[in-house]
């Protein structure tokens, strides 16, 4: 992936030298032309196109912001309700992510999700222990973590 970015930068500089005009607009034109070349020659790279991965990173950050706002609205509703209706619980969630940075990202995503905070990561880093505010829908929470966050992180990290 980093090789493709470096190649793209190299092609952009090559374009600037070819036209002997060293301005930002030339650089951007060269970068876009180099991107088109890399997309045209994508069969020759072993990993997938880097622009694809950049796109999934952008999608993941929008997911992050959306979840942060939803989490805050749910905490607001919960705290301002006249009677507190809480059923807190600690539950175990088995993850299939392996890399350390993926697990860190997943835990901070879970912490920003409505009603869940990661309390402990097991020593073999295969399961997360999550504190949940409302234990009526643990299964629903597990499903939503699995289908949205884990999928988005796997989308970023797959080669």
């Amino acid at each position: 992936m980093s090789f493709q970015i470096l190649l793209n930068l190299f092609l952009a500089f090559l374009w600037m030298f070819l036209s002997s005009n060293y301005s930002l607009s030339r650089f951007i034109i060269g970068f876009l032309l180099g991107l088109a070349l890399i997309i045209a020659f994508r069969k020759f790279f072993k990993s997938r196109l880097y622009i694809d991965r950049v796109w999934s990173v952008i999608k993941l950050s929008f997911l992050f912001i959306k979840e942060l706002i939803l989490a805050n609205v749910s905490v607001l509703v919960l705290v301002l309700r006249p009677r507190l209706e809480l059923q807190p619980a600690f539950f175990k969630y088995d993850t299939k992510l392996t890399e350390d940075w993926e697990i860190t990202l997943l835990s901070s995503l879970i912490t920003l999700t409505p009603g869940t905070v990661v309390v402990h990561v097991s020593d073999d880093s295969k399961s997360l222990y999550i504190h949940v505010l409302d234990s009526n829908d643990i299964d629903e929470t597990i499903d939503s973590i699995k289908n949205t966050f884990e999928k988005a992180i796997l989308e970023v990290s797959r080669s």
């Binding site: 805050n72 619980a89 175990k92 912490t111 905070v117 990661v118 402990h120 504190h131």
Partner: protein, 122 residues
């Protein structure tokens, strides 16, 4: 144009103040440390982030001064907020702070006991 900018700035700052007030009420009303960690780690993060964004827009649109340091501050809060909540609740669980009596299910207790036995901590 100035009115639009003002609306944007006031929206962000009042949203941030609202979320900070909610975080404070949550710290007051919720029963134990672990539920308070929810209010503290989420609402305080978003509250301070929105206030910083409002300050950023004020200096950018009204004073024509683009200050990227504030955006870096937003980014750092975004990264460190959830980690702070996680570390506080984890260290208090290991130190032996009991969860609230209404806690329904506790998968964490056997795990922590096993860990303490392995490392010979009481």
């Amino acid at each position: 144009m100035t009115i639009l900018a003002n609306i944007l700035i006031i929206f962000f700052i009042s949203l941030g103040v609202l979320f900070l007030v909610v975080a404070a009420i949550g710290l007051f009303r919720l029963p134990d440390l672990y539920t308070r960690a929810h209010a503290a780690s989420k609402s305080a993060t978003l509250g301070v982030m929105s206030i910083l964004l409002g300050v950023f827009f004020h200096f950018w649109l009204m004073e024509n001064h683009f200050n990227p340091t504030i955006l870096l501050g937003v980014l750092f809060l975004f990264i460190t907020g959830p980690v702070g909540g996680h570390i506080m609740s984890r260290s208090s669980y290991i130190a032996g702070v009991k969860p609230w009596a209404g806690t329904v299910r506790d998968d964490l207790k056997p795990e922590i006991e096993r860990m303490k036995k392995e490392q010979n901590i009481k």
